[in-house]
């Protein structure tokens, strides 16, 4: 995240320097430029303050009140009762179940997507007749809206008429159709697999970009020295793409921690798959409890903020070590 400074050095005299009025020293020009820059960033900042900063502040504020959705205006200040009270979020076993689900979902899906994404990226990095078709094909799951992919898979995994159950029963792999989305023991696995299907292409494309930045002559040198391909991969390729892979994994993990669409559509309010985001929306909209829901939302925000900051610090200090 190193930022380069390459503003034109206006102080240097050039052939056309006479075009700049002499009465205005370079410092004034620079100041005018900086003012202009602030002016141009301002609209973006105003919009972001309106749709991100202000609503976030309101959510934190609501979490300290007993506001309800039907009457947002009639609220009392209740301190930390929504967090620590007897009916507070931290005392709710459902909340902790959703925290567990979210963390497990993030760990499983990011691991699988990274490994499979790496595999697909390696296939894409190889010159072959199938490469063009492969790249086009993996873009398809990525382009499909999450709601649609959730519906497609719900239909394929339909109990008992879905194509996957039909196939499994016909081939004798299972005796009875599996209730993929209804069976609490199975629905979590189903959600992870559907997410992996949809998001592996994203990881594959990012990994491929990293692979393509590895200089070709490294491979040639290794080939000349007769190093076996898997050793080249483990000792040369992997360390070289690791930084980019880590960035992709962090982005993916931060995205997975707020998972909502796929779970809401496929398993609705099933306890076995409820994520933190699903829990928050249920409290806010379904139960109309703006206070408690906002408290849960604040906790989710803090979780993600802490992880982001920890990662930023870690990469910063590692960068400093390298220097």
């Amino acid at each position: 995240m190193e930022l380069r400074d390459d503003h034109p050095s206006l102080k240097q005299p050039t052939a056309a320097a006479t075009a700049v009025p002499r009465s205005r020293p370079a410092g004034t020009l620079q100041r005018a430029r900086r003012l202009q820059a602030w002016g141009l960033v301002l609209p973006t900042l105003a919009v972001l303050a309106a749709v991100a900063g202000w609503p976030l502040a309101r959510t934190v504020f609501f979490s300290l009140t007993d506001a309800r959705l039907s009457a947002l205006g009639e609220r009392r200040f209740v301190g930390l009762a929504n967090y620590l009270g007897e009916t507070g979020v931290l005392a709710d076993p459902q909340w902790w179940a959703s925290v567990g689900n979210t963390l497990l979902f993030t760990a499983c899906s990011v691991t699988l997507e990274t490994l499979l994404g790496l595999g697909v990226a390696l296939l894409l990095n190889q010159r072959s007749r199938l490469r063009t078709a492969l790249r086009a094909a993996v873009l398809v799951p990525w382009a499909i809206p999450t709601v649609v992919s959730a519906k497609m898979w719900s239909w394929m995994l339909h109990d008992p008429f879905g194509v996957i159950n039909t196939f499994l029963v016909a081939s004798g792999l299972v005796a009875e159709p599996l209730a993929w989305t209804a069976d609490p023991g199975l629905s979590f696995v189903t959600i992870v697999l559907v997410d992996v299907w949809k998001t592996t292409p994203f990881m594959a494309l990012l990994t491929l970009a990293a692979l393509q930045m590895v200089p070709r002559d490294i491979y040639e040198a290794a080939q000349v020295d007769g190093v076996p391909p898997w050793r080249v991969f483990v000792h040369l390729t992997l360390p070289l793409i690791m930084p980019a892979l880590q960035v992709a994994m962090v982005f993916r993990a931060l995205d997975a921690l707020r998972v909502f669409d796929v779970i809401y559509v496929m398993t609705a309010n099933s306890r076995a798959t409820r994520s933190m985001s699903v829990y928050v929306r249920e409290q806010l909209i379904d139960f109309q409890k703006i206070g408690a829901g906002s408290a849960a939302a604040t906790l989710l925000f803090l979780t993600i903020a802490v992880i982001t900051l920890a990662w930023l610090m870690a990469t910063r200090s590692r960068l400093r070590e390298l220097e």
Partner: protein, 272 residues
Amino acid sequence: MMLAALRRLASLAVIAVSLFPLAYAISTSFKQGSDLFGGDFWPSRVVLSNYRSLFRDQPFGTNLLNSALVAGVVVALSLGLSLLSAWALGRVRFRGRQALLLSILGVSMLPHVAVLAGLFELVSALGLYDHLAAMMLSDLLFTLPFTVWVLTTFMRELPKELEEAALLDGAGVFTLVFRVFLPLLWPALVATGLLAFIGAWNEFLFALSFTLSSDERTVPVAIALISGSSSYELPWGNIMAASVIVTLPLIALVLAFQRYIVSGLTAGAVKG
């Protein structure tokens, strides 16, 4: 030789797994009645009734138009705003720039439910509840940080001689951004615009929470809420027909602009 054969097999498997759900959705969308539950891939009789009833019994045409309007406005606003700020953030050195870039990146990490209550209040106060404008406003939460971030990285790469020449000719900053840089940034604009479009087109949580009437719904919400006579009897033929309709244009766009998309995605994550 062995390795090459294995690679071929793996590639074919990945292609099959990637495409099968869409293919199955397409075949389902042409099935009717008991054909739906027969377990065969090909429909025994191809019918269009699933598509017809979508537009006749439901405002699906309106929903499609809603999605296109929301995504179009969101993309236009995001690109316009971020072009201006990308010049400032990418090419001018000023105090607080790093902090600004990091906070913009931070916004893109925000869990959307964390702003849901506050946005709901804002949307209601502005009188936008159950209007498309509610989504046009709230979708900026995730498209704007992304377009600013990517366009800034692209803007930074442009040669400074261009800018010097333009400034010496007495060009103002708007001329500089829109006349000099914009033509050079087309590939970046296409890539980021397309990704932002897909993001807004697919957005679900805000659209679900800020609309009430079926005429104001966007497509993802309409599809998620298609229901049958009972919760156990979902009209899968209709749902798959709707899924095919929203997915095919996206796939056509994505395949047509493959290269741009890959460059946009990587600029967003790896280069950053």
